[in-house]
Point group: C2
Chain length 535, copies 2
């Protein structure tokens, strides 16, 4: 008599989740279990190659593979995980076209949700620093880079042009180093297509909190990488880190301010919010598992792996959050799920790592493999061969090889694929002294002060006069929108400020549809337009 | 003594604008004139191949070329054209990072702004029908197609699944035929990767207003195309057209309703708003030019070409809006600008067209060239050869050839590249009887009625009871958001309705920041929650 069919639910479509599903598909018959994988995207990202998308040496779509092709017998659910009920063995996912929650019951659960970027306690970072984890992040960054180059080329104001051409990356680990290397290569290559830009105007800055970059590598390789980057024009700021940002600058712990329009943060991470509320043992926010990768208290039922789990090998070493470890964790996990279904011996996680590899782009890399230390072009070829070999499937291997070949022959692509039309209501952070808008600017938004104070300044007989000071709860910027005129005053932050921006389009729609909302601003505008003031 | 350097400003980066700039770069020395090209995107789209992006037979980024590489000596301004002042010879473009207008003076102006999709008088089309003109449109459509397939695969409700798998294209000209052909191929191919979807569930409908499709072609070729499409599973609805839409259905003139989640309109077009307000002679909204392509009243100063111009050849024939014509118009225009600068003879537009070509994808096409009528695989090979040859530059030729080759070997890409996070405040249209939300749904938005009436229904003892009727200016949906509960009633449209949707995130931010806005809804919720009602 056949046992009842089991339901295995895997949360997360990174290396951990996808490789667990692939291994389970091989080990289990389709009569033994249904496999469900929940992931916000329907593709798996080949993370180590993601930075190459910036320079265009790999085409945007070639760095990802559809999960449905990698795991053809797995039911993919392209939704977000909203809740995990360990007691009743139910996962709740976000609604689709209909606003109804979907509940997925499980017999066995694999948690491989990775980490999210965390900007808690870093004012303005959420609004202004870009993360670099997903394909969406990479596309957003590419589009942003092209946007600032286009604007720098037409900009007459030298200060603004300098900001547009300054790029700051936070974090000197593998990710940060690869991002700044690719970004620097891309910007300095395509700069030639902009008639008014020059290479000397471009500034690429890597900020790292320790005394040297690449803490995962030995001194010699790290200093090789540092020299290569500096030779190519990257500034490296050590023993410092990003602590705050506005739309005009990055602010470091030392107090140094870097005027710029591009900030990328590759550093601070934290477990997904849905994991933070899970009631189970954790270590620094990561799910604590045993060497069989079982969640403490839910042995034989729930497994956790990848970046969201705190794992030790059988020899007691901490397991780092890398792809080579996650794929081995996936095998251990899949074997143990099969053992739980069929009975049998558990596997314990014992993989200690084969080495570390970091690409610097442009024919250079650093590698520390099986005791050898390699740098330069040999390491770079090694890097490409190893990672190409590791990509599952023939189609992506062929596509990436062709991309690399074409990149050797032709300059990178330069088309901006921005799709969004309007930005919508959003928050913004300002530091003391920042200008929120200038007298004479076009009115594009209305502002609501959530925190902090600002001055209303107007030029009278050539001198700036303070007309008023505004505080938390006050609104400003309505005059220009209501009368469709340019700004009749300059607004400057007195303290650090958090402000809600309501763009013109949304403001007008709300004003028309919710009269009480409009009246607030109409009355304010009436009060503010005194007879002595041009309206 | 050298004459003063002239400024030539070209508006639009389509075939007309880009080819004018390219020809001018060849004909004029850089001392004679500066060339400025204004376009919202920094790339030029190879329009005839755009539909192939849907099926993935050409990779997303390979169907465009950076304008900076096509016209290396032209100053590209990646902004929108906001105003054209013909009297003072100044073009105003939209602001960049700073909210200041940019004014560009010109000596000679070329207007090649193309057309925009126009849904005037077609309720709900603006909100629900997707245009298909730009790369952004193609990316949005691809992401949407993958989204509905993903949702159809997990959807339990058979009605909703049917809607998710129904695709309606309006317009049976070249564009509409190519879009439905590629869409049909794509959906029916990738459907195999979805474990729960079957080919029979997919419905692709082409709606055309005349008695046969492809009015540009002879009967025999049009009926060949029609047969091929029908054989591949496309339904063709003739003598009818799209007149309205909601998020749940397409509505035809005949009264037929097609329940669906995907509507693409390739038909109604109109000049850009900035051209509509220009004071100069027009014909059906297009700028009237002479056979030298000079704008009437501004001869020797302003030229117009491409889809935004009403052009007749020297023999008096109307010039159709195709790429082959636009590129020849560009040559005429460039020659005449050079004549205006240097003096000399004008060129007159005399090109009568070489024929018409339409791809049906999947190894089939129709062609009417130099008197010959060709259909099937020969026409298809001809189509590919001609268009490949016509793309400027070696890199795109190579990239597209490789794409075609890979597409023969491997199934199309399936990754969704959606970047947007939240949809923001938006309008939506409902028809009489439509359900706006159901009792028990999650509260995801607040609604403001702009036009029309709806009933509030609640299930009492198994029967639907009308609790109230709401009218223009009323709000609803606030209860579930304020109390974070599911909807306690169903809302159904009594008449056609236009509604403003404020999503949960925006609603909560506005409520917190603008107390008067929040109070409106708090009071309403208080009034509505009677003691007999569960809140």
């Amino acid at each position: 008599m056949a046992a009842a069919k089991k339901q295995i639910v895997i949360l997360g479509g990174g290396f951990g989740g996808v490789y667990t599903a692939r291994t389970l598909e091989k080990l289990l018959s389709r009569e033994e279990a249904d496999i469900v994988l929940v992931n916000r995207e329907n593709y798996w990202v080949y993370q180590p190659m993601l930075p190459e998308v910036i320079s265009g040496s790999i085409a945007l779509m070639d760095v990802v593979s559809p999960i449905r092709r990698l795991c053809p017998h797995t039911n993919l659910v392209m939704r977000s995980v909203e809740d995990i009920d360990l007691k009743n063995k139910i996962v709740t996912v976000s609604p689709g076209f209909r606003p109804r929650e979907k509940k997925i019951p499980y017999d066995y659960l694999v948690i491989a949700l990775g980490e999210v970027t965390n900007f808690y306690g870093m004012p303005g970072m959420l609004e202004n620093a870009m993360p670099f984890r997903t394909l969406a992040d990479a596309i957003a960054l590419r589009n942003h880079l092209i946007h600032v180059l286009e604007e720098a080329d037409v900009e007459e104001d030298a200060d603004l042009r300098r900001k547009l051409l300054t790029f700051v990356v936070g974090g000197g680990g593998f990710s940060g180093v690869e991002v700044i290397a690719e970004l620097n290569n891309f910007v300095r290559t395509v700069q030639k297509n902009y008639m008014r830009l020059r290479n000397e105007q471009v500034r690429c800055v890597l900020v790292h909190s320790r005394a040297r970059i690449l803490p995962e590598m030995v001194d010699a390789l790290a200093s090789f990488a540092q020299k290569i980057l500096e030779k190519r024009g990257v500034e490296i700021v050590l023993n410092d880190r990003l602590v705050a940002a506005t739309s005009e600058k990055a602010i470091l712990k030392s107090g140094v301010e870097i005027p710029c329009k591009t900030i990328i943060s590759t550093v601070p991470s934290v477990g997904q919010p849905v994991l933070q509320k899970l009631e189970c043992p954790k270590e620094k926010g990561s799910l604590l598992v045993n060497t069989a990768l079982e969640l403490k208290g839910y042995e034989g039922q729930v497994w956790a792996l990848g970046d969201c789990a705190a794992i030790k090998t059988v020899s007691g070493k901490d397991v780092p959050p890398t792809a080579q470890h996650a794929t081995r964790e996936a095998t251990t996990c899949a074997v143990n799920i099969v053992a739980a279904i069929r009975g049998g011996k558990q596997a314990l996680f014992a993989f200690e790592g084969l080495g570390t590899l970091g690409s610097l782009g442009h024919g250079s890399a650093v590698a520390q493999i099986l005791g050898m230390k390699i740098s330069g072009v040999v390491a770079w070829i090694l890097w490409r061969c190893i990672y190409l070999m590791k990509i599952p499937g023939l189609a992506p291997k062929l596509r990436i090889s062709i991309d690399w070949f074409i990149h050797l022959l032709f300059p990178p692509d330069l088309a901006q694929t921005k799709v969004e039309l309007e930005s919508g209501i959003k928050n913004q952070h300002f530091e003391p002294g920042d200008i929120i808008f200038n007298q004479g600017d076009l009115g594009d938004s209305v502002y609501v002060i959530q925190q902090g104070d600002c001055d209303v300044l107007r030029e009278v007989d050539g001198a700036q006069k303070v007309l008023a000071t505004l505080h938390a709860g006050d609104y400003f910027g309505e005059m220009a929108l209501l009368a469709d005129l340019t700004r009749n005053a300059t607004i400057q932050a007195r303290t650090a400020m958090d402000i809600l921006l309501i763009p013109k389009g949304d403001f007008n729609r709300l004003r028309k549809s919710v009269p009480a909302f409009g009246e607030v601003f109409d009355e304010l505008a009436k009060k503010r337009s005194t007879p002595t003031t041009k309206s």
